[in-house]
Symmetry: C2
Subunit: 440 residues, 2 copies
């Protein structure tokens, strides 16, 4: 256990715009039994319990607004079993995405969910994370097969088995994925793996407008051409990435795209996609099958958040995360671009266009409350517009504290039902209180 | 409303071995509001409410062991909206799988989940159904985007939006999918669609043993060859299908397989699969790209249940549904075949081998209680073996009344948590009581 100010502040801090809300103590359990024992003690004392993985979440999930104990999973970071024939793996929650793929390298398998940050897998499950590959491989919802969870009562339960599918009652695995530590703490995960594709091809392509880029993606999906990644960056994002990664892409909206398969299918898909892109005015279409070029391309995309942050020195970010039906994506993004352009702060936009999910990185001076207010107002309008278009306030970052105010508008009466579930499974309101759901 | 004996018996009957348990009344609502009003009246009177789709479920889901009102959704069977650009569709719960695909034909899109029976989509969601195509397209869990539900309080709620993904709180859609009408009634579904593949190829292939057939599938998955369907039939199933469908496949274990894609990718996948099959002793490997041949092939597979029933005149069936990690599938199936052979009743076995899910169709004389006892004992041992191998009692049929006794062994302490959820969302215990979960 640690009560040093440094540790407390570290665990109460956020990647984005939230101020530090430190817990009263940090513990570093090494087993599920230790986690369960800690939760039972906290329950007796009505003390909040907050899970902590890699601290890369964006909505204040790991902050401790009511104090309590931060449960840091960094000492529970073992890969417990690799079942190659079943293409699954059993891990502790502190294993990071990159560490897992490093351990899997020799098996020819990989774990596909890629939110950009080197998040912990427990954290990724807790926020129902996704990222650049969800268009092909799904989100954490689709890639967690089973969990071990310490409940709010301090009991260790298992949800699901290693079977690929089941109809054996309520989908508790699905309920805990995305529950942000408000119903229990994930202490073990069984994850679905994929075969490393024989061939991949990646490309970047400039378009005359966001609408033209999005239309290309809609047509690609309708032609059932299986994209492994398809990302859109607006002109402002491209400018930031150019400055940061030493690229020289023209200042226009771009698609970054990747295909996975056999050499023949990848070539076929790339050609079919190229024809659709050309039909929508796409230009400067460069395919690369060279490992080095592809790595540089995706490194640039992954560093876009930091590139954009660096474009305004000293800035912090409010990162929006709406997701809309893809048919409404172009209009939603264009409305957001217009709204940001008319505001006093910069906010480059990029997104997982195959899912209809995009982020505006709204850059604020952390010392200037007006900036933050402007950003939160922009975000509010983006969310309202997304809901009006049949979308959601958050595609992949979760609710935490940052999206709590939008939940009633999004869910209506179903919001009350979430509260019922919370009260049933955490009657003492100790599990990550103040996040995801309101509880008395 | 109907209270005719014919209607009551029809709604209290089962496809399989359950005796008739008739409701007190059947209603045929035409809108969500009518459903909500009926639930509110039932709630006032503590009267059970049982949803009824096409009546094709296998575990007594629609039976009324405590009487009550059967809510028949056959008059809520409209396709409400086809959103082609977003590849989704909004339907009422009484729409059947075949009716939906008929309506979609002109769009170039289809709904892939195919449990064999022409089930209603509300029923398929309620039991978390899957079937032959789950290996490629997933189960109902993966293909329901959002729901409208009438809760046990008689309130109409919406779970989810039309966005492709969301992290906005607890996954209520996932909670209601597979909840078998025990938490509420599904009154509208938003479903994910797929593009009709440009090309398909289907084949049937005999193997020297179940183990050799399963090994071929494991290798195919590991090579990331995307199968659209992969079904195993044991020698006894093949004999029944031969007799029923006029085929002349040799009396050995077979794989039925199908690939979807472009003509080139399908040809490539078929060739790669053929090489793996040959390496495992597969013979008589006949590819067919002819629409007529493929249709005959899958018609034979889909009719297998009825072919097997017909092989013992007058028989009823106990249909097992265990699902295990695919690495343990061959041993699980072989143990089941041995156990059945040593018993006094026939029980051909077939399965969705890509998912590790198989069914023994245990044929019983409905007049002979010894037969039923034998079948239930065989099923019990199959379930115990599946759980010991890391699997589940039910891959796709659901719990209903038939699998209730296995839930505690499968879920352990998590079983109590399912009860907590049930009590929180249905405090008056009116929603399909006696199914899925125990309540008081």
């Amino acid at each position: 256990m640690s009560r040093s100010k440094h540790d407390l502040d570290l665990h109460g801090a956020s990647e984005t715009h939230f101020s530090v809300m430190a817990p009263d103590a940090v513990i570093y359990p090494t087993s599920s039994e230790e986690v369960a024992a800690a939760v039972r003690i906290c329950r007796e004392h009505g003390c909040p319990v907050i899970g902590f993985g890699a601290g890369t979440s964006l909505e204040g999930h790991t902050a401790a607004p009511r104090g309590g104990v931060s449960v840091d999973f960094s000492k529970m970071s073992s890969v417990l079993a690799i079942n190659a024939a079943d293409m699954d793996v059993v891990v502790q929650p502190g294993v990071t995405r990159e560490a897992l793929n490093e351990e899997l390298r020799a098996t020819g398998l990989f774990f596909p969910v890629d939110p950009g940050a080197n998040a912990s897998l427990g954290g990724m499950a807790s926020t129902r994370a996704s990222g650049t590959t969800a268009v092909r491989y799904g989100t954490m919802k689709d890639n967690v097969i089973a969990l071990e969870v310490v409940t709010a009562e301090g009991e260790i339960i298992r949800t699901g088995t290693r079977a690929r599918k089941s109809s054996a009652g309520y989908d508790l695995t699905g309920l805990f994925v995305g529950s942000e530590g408000t119903l229990g703490l994930i202490t073990e995960l069984t994850l679905r793996l994929q075969g490393i594709p024989e061939a991949t091809a990646a490309a970047v392509c400039a378009f005359p407008s966001l609408g033209a880029a999005v239309e290309t993606v809609i047509e690609t999906i309708q032609c059932a051409i299986p994209m492994a990644r398809i990302e859109v960056l607006d002109a402002a994002s491209i400018a930031a990435v150019n400055a940061h990664a030493g690229r020289d892409d023209p200042p226009q909206p771009h698609l970054f795209v990747e295909f996975h398969g056999s050499p023949a299918t990848v070539a076929e898909q790339a050609e079919a996609f190229g024809a659709l892109a050309e039909g929508n005015g796409g230009a400067r279409f460069e395919w690369s099958a060279q490992e080095e070029d592809k790595r540089a391309l995706w490194a640039a995309r992954h560093a876009a958040y930091y590139a954009i942050l660096a474009s305004r020195p000293g800035a912090r970010a409010v990162v929006t995360d709406v997701c809309v039906p893809i048919s409404r994506l172009a209009e939603a993004m264009e409305a957001a671009v217009d709204d940001i352009e008319q505001s006093s702060i910069p906010g480059p936009i990029l997104g997982h266009v195959g899912d209809g999910n995009y982020h505006a990185i709204l850059l604020i001076d952390p010392e200037d409350p007006k900036d933050k207010n402007t950003a939160l107002n922009l975000q509010k309008r983006m969310v309202e517009n997304a809901l009006a278009l049949g979308g959601t306030a958050t595609g992949e970052h979760g609710v935490g504290m940052g999206k709590l105010d939008h939940m009633e508008a999004e869910h209506g009466a179903a919001w009350g039902l979430m509260g019922d579930i919370k009260r049933a499974l955490d009657p003492n309101a100790i599990m990550n209180p103040g996040k995801l759901v309101r509880q008395n």
